[in-house]
C-alpha cells in the first residue's frame, strides 16, 4: 500500500514536472473564454467596439518548440454584435460584411515567431469578405496550467490592425476610420 502511494505521488510529480509536448487545444468558445473584438474610430472622436459572438477554432502549441505553433479560427460573421441592432443590420449588409455572400471569415496561421519574452508574431492568411490576405498578429502569451476541474488550459491575446478596404470593404466612414483593430483573447483547453 505504501509502495503504491509512493508510486502514485512520484508519477503525479513526474507528470506535473514533465515538459509539455506538442499539444492540441480547442478554443473554449463553449465556456466563452475567448473573444474576437473589433475597434474602429468613430469620426476620429471616440472608439466603437464590437465583437463576433460565434466562432470556433483550434491551436497547437509546444513550449519546447513554439515556432511549430499552429492556429485555425473560423468566424461566423453574421454573429457580429456592436450593441445596436440597426447598426448590426447595416454592418451585415452589402455596404460592409455582406454576410449573405460571405458568411465566414477564416484565419489560418502560416508561422509563429516567439520573441523569447512571452510575446511573438503569428503570421497567417486571413479571409474576410471573400478576400484572403496575409496578416501578422502581435501575440502575448498569457499563461498556461491546470484548471480547477481537471483540465489544462493555455491562453494568449493578440492584436492586429487591418484595413477593410484591402478586403474589398470600402464603405466610407471617414478618414479616421479606415483601419480597424482586431483584438483576440483566446483560451484553449487541451484535448
Amino acid at each position: 500500500m505504501k509502495k503504491l502511494l509512493l508510486a502514485t505521488i512520484m508519477s503525479a510529480t513526474f507528470l506535473a514536472a514533465a515538459p509539455v509536448q506538442a499539444e492540441d487545444y480547442v478554443i473554449d468558445t463553449d465556456g466563452a473564454h475567448a473573444f474576437v473584438q473589433f475597434k474602429v474610430s468613430h469620426l476620429g472622436y471616440s472608439w466603437l467596439l464590437g465583437r463576433f459572438n460565434d466562432f470556433e477554432g483550434t491551436f497547437s502549441y509546444d513550449e519546447a518548440n513554439p515556432s511549430a505553433a499552429k492556429v485555425n479560427v473560423t468566424i461566423d460573421v453574421a454573429s457580429l454584435d456592436s450593441n445596436h441592432a440597426e447598426r448590426d443590420k447595416h454592418l451585415r449588409s452589402a455596404d460592409f460584411f455582406n454576410v449573405g455572400k460571405y458568411p465566414q471569415a477564416k484565419f489560418e496561421s502560416t508561422s509563429y515567431t516567439a520573441n523569447g519574452d512571452g510575446t511573438g508574431v503569428l503570421k497567417g492568411n486571413f479571409t474576410l469578405h471573400g478576400t484572403t490576405k496575409p496578416i501578422s498578429i502581435d501575440v502575448t502569451e498569457i499563461g498556461a496550467g491546470q484548471d480547477p476541474w481537471g483540465g489544462f488550459r493555455r491562453g494568449f491575446e493578440g492584436a492586429v490592425t487591418i484595413t477593410p478596404a484591402d478586403f474589398g470593404m470600402d464603405y466610407d466612414l471617414g478618414p479616421a476610420s479606415e483601419t480597424v483593430e482586431i483584438y483576440l483573447s483566446i483560451e484553449g483547453i487541451r484535448k
Binding site: A78, H84, A85, E86, D88, K89, L173
Partner: protein, 181 residues
C-alpha cells in the same frame, strides 16, 4: 358628412384614406432613398428619424382607421361581382401589408430593446427582442412587404381611375368628398 353612409364615405374615412396614401408613398420613397446615403450626409441620421416617426404615426392611424371602418356603415360596392370580390380582396391585402410592413419595421429598430422615438415627442417601447436574427429577418420582411404594398396600392389607384373614366361610376368620387344620400 363625417360618417359613412350607404352611398359614400364620410370625411373621417376620406381624410384617413388620403393621409395613408400620401404617407405610404412618402415613406417608401424616403426609406429607399435613405439607404443610399453616405455616412457624412446630413440626412444619414435625419432620414431614419423621420421614417420611423411617420411610420409609427401611420401605424396608429391605421389602427384607428380599421376600428372606424369596422364600426361604420359600408358604402355599397360598385361593379360586377368579380370586380367587387377583387376589390374586397385587394383592400384586405392592403390592410394586411400595411400592418406587416409597419410591424416588421418596428421589429428592426426595437430588436436590441431600444424604443422608437416618435418626433422626439414620445417613445414606442420595444416589446419583442428575442427572435433569432430579428433585425435581419424583419428587414427582409419589411422590404418585400413595402414593395408589395406600393405595387398593390398603384393597382388600387388604377382601379379607381378605371371606375371613374371608363365605367363613369361614383367609386372614386365618393372617396374624394362625401356624396349626399
Amino acid at each position: 358628412m363625417l360618417k359613412n353612409s350607404k352611398r359614400s364615405y364620410g370625411w373621417v374615412a376620406i381624410i384617413m384614406h388620403w393621409l395613408t396614401a400620401m404617407m405610404v408613398f412618402a415613406l417608401f420613397g424616403l426609406g429607399y432613398w435613405m439607404l443610399t446615403l453616405g455616412y457624412y450626409d446630413a440626412w444619414y441620421r435625419l432620414g431614419p428619424w423621420w421614417h420611423k416617426s411617420f411610420g409609427m404615426t401611420l401605424l396608429l392611424l391605421t389602427i384607428v382607421r380599421l376600428i372606424w371602418k369596422l364600426t361604420q356603415p359600408r358604402p355599397t360596392a360598385i361593379g360586377k361581382t368579380f370586380e367587387q370580390v377583387g376589390a374586397k380582396l385587394g383592400h384586405a391585402l392592403i390592410y394586411a401589408l400595411l400592418f406587416i410592413t409597419m410591424i416588421s419595421g418596428y421589429l428592426i429598430s426595437t430588436a436590441d430593446g431600444r424604443g422608437i422615438s416618435v418626433f422626439d415627442w414620445f417613445e414606442v417601447p420595444a416589446l419583442i427582442t428575442s427572435i433569432p436574427q430579428q433585425e435581419d429577418i424583419a428587414g427582409q420582411v419589411h422590404w418585400y412587404a413595402a414593395l408589395s404594398l406600393v405595387i398593390i396600392a398603384i393597382g388600387h389607384g388604377l382601379a379607381g381611375l378605371r371606375h371613374h373614366f371608363i365605367h363613369k361610376d361614383e367609386t372614386l368620387k365618393r372617396m374624394l368628398r362625401p356624396l349626399k344620400d
